[in-house]
Symmetry: D2
Subunit: 352 residues, 4 copies
């Protein structure tokens, strides 16, 4: 094909940071994590959080709350009444839909069907379990089959689109957090006052003020959507690239809420990550470096389908917390952020 | 430092796609573009758009509309009246602020100051010209100086945060599109009916229906924010990685609107990219592969400050249009998306 | 009580407009509707739509898609793991919750429980059937009982709030449309080309262009949320006030999407109203004028619980369509909106 | 006209609540305020806040931050390049636009022009000073003239719409708060610990927790937009109706942020109201009851244009704070909200 020149690679600087101490319902381990990024100050920033995790009993606790992958389709009717009749029929015959999905794939399993009608347009959002895969292609394939099945019922519906943006893939939306997409995790930690002061050079009170003013109020006036954090996107990008994930999914991954409480001087600190679109098998995971990274993370073990991916999600959530904690602490002190950048760049130049 | 293991690299598969024919106020050229991604079906998808660009007089026209980089800070007052008095003072003495910025940096130039008051919190959003750099560090540095200057006026304000999330960096928000952040570009093309049918296997009418139903209506019910497109994030990620950009900025980059018109069977097709956070110098741009890529793109020429980065933004916008056009065309036909993926994966396995 | 002076009334100008011809799954009738508003140009505007409804076979078809009322509460845990354990328990014991609701009220019935965890905060959103009432107080009462029940399980949860803003009442949010709140209706009509030209002085093509450019693209760049219409709020306010509804609920009512298609010159026109918070009994409905209005609308008949309120929702949806259709048609013609206002004000002054 | 039956009125129960003690840059007075609503528990709720305002030195301080009214239009070009050229021309010739506005109206004055391009669509958002009027019609009239003027420059632009939803009128959007629309006010108060305990039966710590968890975190997960409050819409509706305002504007009025701080046990409490669309003259203000209400509020005095409306906005902001404070305090105590409703309804029945 003339338009594709021979394939090369772009090398992204990568470091294994940690180890991070992680507990909870998906991981109980002390693990180094790989971060591939041009923004190398991220390494010591996450590293500081990792160090704290090792100094606290149980480290960072991660709770994986849900998992699913979605695809929404558009079917067009003559009018809303016809679309509504079709939606009801789909609800009533959901078992048939589930059977069609299971017949087609040994991994995909239909979990939920959600519909919305706009005029004569019927949007149907299918949610699937997809095992250890992130599931992008699996759900597209399943949705193709489901469209054909629904249309075979002679419901008068026409094909609108295989993707109706109500999925939503690689877009910041509200639906993903409310109805679910990807693995949903919450990471939290309770940091004793002394560690807050010594390791983070701040106090629980100042951290809580900053979380409210910047992450909640600031995000609100910025017109953010279901989101209130400092920089989840940075950690997600670096972790996704290093483990062969489709890193365009950091768009929805970037949404989530950092919440903190001052508990008599100790700092309760948490990161909510409602849509981590990650897998340990599937597209991009067969590359040599990627496989090695997943193995080193302990995410290619013989386990029940889904467990490796859950472990991966747990490690990512803990990593995000490390980086979020560290940056916010720096921002409680005037000038610290810039000083840290300058020092780091100087150190790197001296190394080079 | 014990927590950082020796640096390695993560190699991202990369292909130079095109050339794309681009015209407009930032580029007039025929250029191959580098796409670094694990999602290799993106290459032929963008390639199809590139082919069409070469078949149309003038190709894809890109209009760069604005450019600026921003940082918002939080200062705290006793109450709203005091915050308002300070905000007025800042407006009145904006020249002093501008002078302080210019004294500190030879590239940064203060363009605009925007403030918002929530209770006793004063959010100030500074916008700067940053030459050919994306400007992340430049604006942090400038904001540090501006905080110090404003506080020296004895306005009773205390330091709140160097970043108040009203910037907004790597978050999907409304403020970036409305007040501006990064380079803002619109790419468009008018594709004759025959090309729509032969190259895209669809019609202008079906493309326009899909754009309205999926990108506009579907995004709206998904609860998207200032956004209506199919997959800008994919092209941005690949281009950003290949050229040393901070790819976490695809989060805000992913917002934008695809708009199409059926002009008597010809297809007018456009992509609006209000916040491309890109630079041709600065952090990440000194790496060997990155420098070579920027040079090959013609973005390291001796030009007026900002011109190289504008050219880069123009090429990115054109690339996004190529991929958006191609995917949407595929989605007008039932099953085509999945078939294309399957064929491609088969071809790649055969090559391997 | 010294701070309350004797009660008086504010008289809002009111007119019965129509009749509107309505069909569908909630109404099949020709009905005049009351509009209480200071913005009296609304009357002839809705009146024009009503006239068209009478000229089209079947008139405006309204499909009521769903109905429910919601209240979200906040319970606080020690950490996310504890909150997650509690959320799982609530899911498993949903039958107990449903029984508690039914024991307390003869109308309220628990339909759905949805939870979300942010750090150690557990948000639980309860959805109820509430018969013919809008249900504000019914769901608060039920939620009080449910909090007590859940806390009696010794799950370690503390009271956070009886309302967690995830309900969401009188706020524009995404959750109401996605998970449902109030009665959800879609109104649509197919208007023959001649009527479009004669009655609306426009064409289907121009209407569709306007709907896309203004309601979809314009709303998107404005940063609207799950919304794309011209002025639903106007019709809702006037109808709500005239029928004793809590008109602050026009906030969420104002969200919805107008969608149109050009069908060979005929105009398919639809209004989606996902959250009409309305009732025919309950607070405000006992006032003399309000009762008379509801009776005249045929919404106080002896019917199954919910049917009167569904009829009311259907009439409101049809009324919204009338006003939306008329204003958009006016806006397709330069200057028409202003001319209409000026003429109307002149006419009213002459009458006075 | 056959479709309009003779005009009647809908009487809305109304009470004058207060007086509220208000200070700041728009009001310095102790004023009773009229609230027209079916939700009569609002009266004692606002009354409680009013009582507190009278017990605190200076009462509620209101800072009016900005004022303007807006209208956005759509003009269509051939492509983005042409739209951009036109936008630049409009910026360069803004003085001509301002002159055209001033020539046409003695009150309207052009303040700002903001444009955004989507494909070949040019959205232009005009902001005007409108004296004491809310200005809906004034800005429509001005925008008509501006469209004609711009098109007379032979810029190749066609009429798209007199309103492009980027205004945005009666819709919840981000643009209104960021670029401004209506009068923007912040109300705040510092309540000593004893008053918090005695009058509000709560503590500053519990109020701050609730504000963060419900108004900020809860609103965020609900997918709210630039908004975090409990029930601004209730107070706005009641005040708007009683003073002849277009109450459909509570939709955007409902957006705003309640922010609180625990200052050593004293409660700093604030309400931000970025878009109060209110006037003391113009449509709806000539009705007998309305005029009397505005006079009693002291908003029909001979003052500089805009001052009466600013006073009105200030009184509304203070009233919103009263109601917000009172409801939130009630929600800090389990069961209090429901008990208050029940007691009040019983009291009203006994009175009746």
């Amino acid at each position: 094909m003339t338009m594709l020149s021979a394939t090369e690679v772009t090398p992204i600087p990568t470091s294994w940071v940690g180890p991070i101490r992680v507990s909870g319902n998906a991981v109980d381990d002390e693990v180094r994590v790989p971060l591939a990024t041009y923004e190398t100050p991220l390494w010591p920033s996450v590293g500081r959080g990792a160090r704290i995790s090792r100094l606290v009993e149980g480290g960072i606790q991660v709770t994986v709350v849900d998992e699913r992958m979605t695809r929404s389709v558009i079917l067009t009717a003559t009018n809303a009444a016809q679309a509504h009749a079709a939606a009801q029929r789909i609800r009533e015959r959901q078992d048939e839909l589930a059977a069609a999905v299971s017949a087609q794939s040994s991994y995909a399993r239909l979990l939920e069907v959600h519909s919305e009608i706009v005029g004569n347009l019927l949007f149907i959002r299918f949610a699937f379990a997809t095992g250890d895969a992130s599931g992008h292609n699996m759900v597209t394939n399943a949705a193709d089959a489901l469209i054909a099945l629904v249309r075979s019922w002679e419901s008068g519906l026409e094909y609108g689109s295989i993707s109706g943006n109500y999925c939503s893939d690689k877009k910041a939306t509200a639906v993903n957090g409310i109805l679910g997409r990807g693995r949903s995790a919450v990471a939290d930690i309770l940091i004793p006052r002394e560690l807050v002061e010594q390791q983070l050079r701040t106090t629980a009170a100042r951290m809580c003020d900053l979380v409210v003013r910047k992450n909640l109020v600031g995000s609100t006036i910025a017109g953010a959507l279901r989101s209130g954090n400092a920089h989840y996107a940075n950690m997600l990008l670096a972790f996704y690239l290093a483990t062969g994930q489709d890193a365009a999914n950091i768009v929805e991954g970037s949404q989530g809420i950092t919440y903190a409480e001052n508990r008599d001087g100790d700092l309760y600190f948490s990161c909510q990550l409602p849509h981590l679109i990650v897998g340990t098998v599937g597209n991009g995971k067969h590359l040599t470096g990627v496989e090695a990274a997943l193995e080193r993370l302990g995410c290619r073990e013989p386990r029940e389908p889904g467990e490796n991916a859950r472990r991966l999600a747990g490690l990512i959530a803990a990593t995000v917390l490390c980086g979020e904690l560290s940056l916010l602490a720096a921002q409680t002190n005037p000038g610290e952020l810039m000083r840290a950048h300058v020092q780091l760049e100087r150190a790197q130049k001296e190394q080079a």
